[in-house]
Symmetry: C2
Subunit: 174 residues, 2 copies
Amino acid sequence: MRVLGIDPGLTRCGVGVVEGQLGRPLRLVEAGVVKTPATAEHSQRLLSIDQGLAEWIDKYQPDVIAVERVFADQNVLSVVGTAQAAGLAMVNAARRGIPVHTHTPTEVKAAITGSGRADKAQVSHMVVRILKLAVAPKPADAADAVALAICHLWRGAANDRIAEALAKQMGKTA
Amino acid sequence: MRVLGIDPGLTRCGVGVVEGQLGRPLRLVEAGVVKTPATAEHSQRLLSIDQGLAEWIDKYQPDVIAVERVFADQNVLSVVGTAQAAGLAMVNAARRGIPVHTHTPTEVKAAITGSGRADKAQVSHMVVRILKLAVAPKPADAADAVALAICHLWRGAANDRIAEALAKQMGKTA
């Protein structure tokens, strides 16, 4: 399974593609950012994000897209732009029939480091170890997107397995 | 000039098309809503909004799109969905090279009724008078979108005229 993690933002959207399955080593395919200049007009910045994310999706053909969940109270000043970038990620996925899942920053940190209150350096350190990299993906937004993809691979695969087992059991008892 | 006003929302996006120019009576072309079911998955709702707004734009070919400005503090619970709907309106405009302008609810109320603190009934009443309608556009979101388009026609046309006059003067003095 190939997962594209997207850490949404108006100035920088982190993107990270990770491949793998439960119980096997994960592999980093690619990581980077979709950037927009602060001097550009707002609708043009959104269009650049829309097109940039579309290119990543079309190039790497992920099976699932994991987007960081936006909260209304997380950062009042930037929440509108962040929510809009996340919305564009979701629409691009939905348009291509690719399932989208959201994970909170706390869920990502907990999945990667074992602590929901880990700092950026700890998450970055664990991303390097998990993916057996020489250096952490740069910039930080790219590393966050990779962490999101890992979180989804681990949580999603585990959830799918549980759902499958339950469905089987339901079938037997029915 | 033809303006498409969009009052963004995840459940209902109001849309209103108004035609006219400064100093001439305005004409309502069409008004309505793009709705999404609360039971649908979030990314599917955003995709429906994206497609619904695209249909309105392609059918009515507006010269300008006016979107209600979303504030991070206006309604914490729904701001993410509203911001995402507004973002999709902007991207659809930018993708077609149509200029987008935003107006705050206060600016719209002030332009239409003369008071930035007018209630919905007062705005609706003035929309009926300005456009010489038999009844107000329904539902309220459609009326809000029409008010937004009127606000833009009045403010925008006045601003354009000022900008044009200034540009001419600059040309003369240069």
